[in-house]
Symmetry: C2
Subunit: 412 residues, 2 copies
């Protein structure tokens, strides 16, 4: 049976760990699903592990081994989602809704063999479609799959969002809803900026930049997949019945440049390689070597310091493992003089489709920050985002000022 | 590849929940397995869920539903063993032992579809044999399997012991060792009887009676399977290196009657149906009806009370669900007058192969109990066991007196 043979449209609803952290939250989620089903759609829900479960399992593993083998870590962590899926299915049946839980393997989520950060290769949704055809609600464990040898794999960070979007794509779902502990995507972190407002709708590309630049609400990977398969995404509250933020293919007005959000990210550090000879291929050497170390580079700036020598600076996630010996080797390899690591920096990102096409915007940004006596360490821009590297202590002030100057004034 | 192609004999080592309750106990278990492996054998270990894990999962389920559906309960509980198997495999690898964990499904434990008390239909040990051939230690989740539709099933009470014995049978293992929090099988409960001593070896039949009659160390079902497939069983401590109790096919001296143990069981209740007409088939009606109610009858006594009418009395496990309406219906159906339930009774069991062949033994038992002014409510005997139903308050005194009079004197 094909998903297209089903008589009703399919909605995928993904519940994050905080949304299923206790039995009563699980019961809330079940009621939410029941209401949705009553509106005349098939529901596939995807669940994360309850609350701290994953952290607790990790802590058990670390008590046994500093570096637990990835295969067994995947087996261990997969148990978390198996618990929550069974409990949610019970809660649905308790209120009279036919339901059936599926592990990643049972749900046909086939991945590659890369334990702890497996990629989904394809989905065989036969069993899920059969359950939907019997008008059962499907409860699928997020974050997990199985490889060709029937080994349990997990999908790494943001894995449950990715499971949800992938399943929505495979089923041709009308909607994929990410239900979480916030009510939607905000124009800035509401804990920092009082005037932060919820965004009604965003393009995939804008959401992708936001996800990659500090907005913790959705993982970039799931947004990429949603974009590729044109899955309509909604981010909304799991407990409140408010509209949330829609993430859609294209905003209607292609030409209008609108600043959507200011995001802040303090979980970064800056690494500079000092006085690197400016020879062809040197950047390729550096970033090739960093790639081999598994370092994910977020921002690269090359500045000429004196004749023939450049300082090459890059920003990496704050939890990147790179030790002094590795940096020494890197500097030596490219003939540089020295390296400097600065952990006291942060990123301010201003996001909006076409933002760097509009020269006035960059000017406004720099003027607002200058008025705050905030020094810009590095600047980078793309079609979608302008990123400023600032001192950590300037981050909150800068975020507030930019939000007020660029977004709050715009609304008035 | 067949198990018989392996070059070394196989030992199955089963660790119960208390033996893997903490990371450090899991590390102890790993060391124990490593030592065994060094002795030149392949090791397959079977693990239960850590400590209270199963109880905690049950409690979550009960917060959501009074009667959680069995399919989802199996899914939920299976997560417990998946956790402990992953952690034990990590602990082995941490001390340099190649190891690989297997869920029930991955280990080829195929069961029927009876959720929450599935029976093992057969075992396909291919993947396990391949792992052993690579000299890996196999860590198998106990208590779980999968049915023909790849649904997760659990084996019910004593399930992990059953998994271990079944796997030992399928692999033609040299030994199946049940490692637990006691050092072996005792001649009486050491918490009650000071002189209780560890039994060196027992026949399958004797162990089976003991398991069914209150010795909590092994579940009867696993002993039955061990007997059927002639799997050599050992019950021993998971933390101490002491010999334990061997359970073997036949004791050497076929003719000697030896009293092996006195077990006590207070988790029972007695039900009497009063003045039931003595017509042919009445007992069959009663016990047929009880079977339909799922009531497991432990002991049946029919006593003539007055002309043509009998009192029919039976003993059932203390947690048996049978309500007043069901008893009323039962009495009505067989034309009886009334029913009486007595929960304040207990069973005293005296166990030894051939025990009722030796008339002197029954006499000794009754004399010892009479000396203690203990009234015998009912008596039942088989080739292996003499069971006395006594008042709950006489149980401890009776157990001590019988152990002293029948076993401790015998040793002197």
């Amino acid at each position: 049976m094909n998903p297209t043979d089903l008589k009703k449209p399919i909605h995928v609803m993904k519940f994050g760990g905080t949304s299923v952290a206790t039995p009563s939250l699980i019961q809330n989620a079940a009621q939410r699903i029941a209401d949705r089903r009553k509106s005349g759609v098939h529901v596939v829900c995807v669940v994360s592990a309850m609350g701290d479960t994953t952290d607790n399992l990790m802590s058990l593993a670390r008590q046994i081994s500093e570096r637990p083998p990835n295969r067994e870590l995947d087996v261990l962590l997969s148990a978390g989602e198996v618990q929550s899926m069974a409990l949610l299915s019970m809660a649905l049946q308790e209120i009279g809704i036919a339901a059936r839980s599926f592990t990643g393997s049972q749900g046909g989520i086939r991945t590659d063999t890369q334990h702890s950060e497996a990629r989904i290769l394809h989905i065989d949704p036969d069993r899920i479609v059969s359950a939907l055809a019997k008008d059962e609600v499907v409860v699928l464990a997020g974050f997990q799959g199985h490889d060709e040898r029937d080994e349990i794999t997990t999908l790494g960070r943001g894995g449950s969002d990715t499971s949800a979007v992938a399943m929505a794509a495979a089923l041709g779902a009308e909607l994929c809803e990410i239900l979480t502990d916030v009510t939607g995507v905000y124009s800035a972190d509401p804990r920092i900026v009082d005037g932060a407002r919820q965004i009604e709708s965003l393009g995939y590309d804008e959401m992708l930049e936001m996800a990659n630049l500090g907005a913790r609400v959705l993982h970039g990977r799931s947004v990429e997949m949603a974009r590729r398969f044109e899955v309509p995404l909604v981010v909304a509250s799991s407990t409140r019945n408010t509209p949330g933020t829609r993430i859609v293919g294209k905003e209607t007005d292609m030409e209008k440049v609108e600043i959507r959000a200011v995001t802040d990210d303090r979980n970064v550090k800056k690494i500079s390689l000092v006085s690197v000879p400016d020879t062809p291929g040197v950047a390729a050497n550096i970033f090739g070597a960093l790639g081999e170390l598994g370092v994910n580079v977020r921002l690269i700036v090359q500045a000429q310091s004196h004749a023939g020598n450049n300082d090459i600076t890059f920003v990496v996630p704050g939890d990147t493992h790179i030790d002094q010996q590795q940096l020494d080797d890197l500097v030596k390899q490219v003939g540089g003089e020295n390296w400097i690591v600065d952990e006291r920096i942060a990123l301010l990102n201003i996001i909006g489709e076409g933002i760097s096409r509009e020269p006035g915007i960059a000017g406004s940004i720099f003027r607002i920050l200058a008025d705050q006596q905030i020094n810009l360490d590095l600047i980078s821009s793309s079609n979608l985002v302008i990123t400023c590297v600032v001192s950590e202590e300037d981050l909150v002030r800068g975020t507030r000022a930019l939000h007020e100057g660029l977004i709050e004034t715009d609304a008035s």
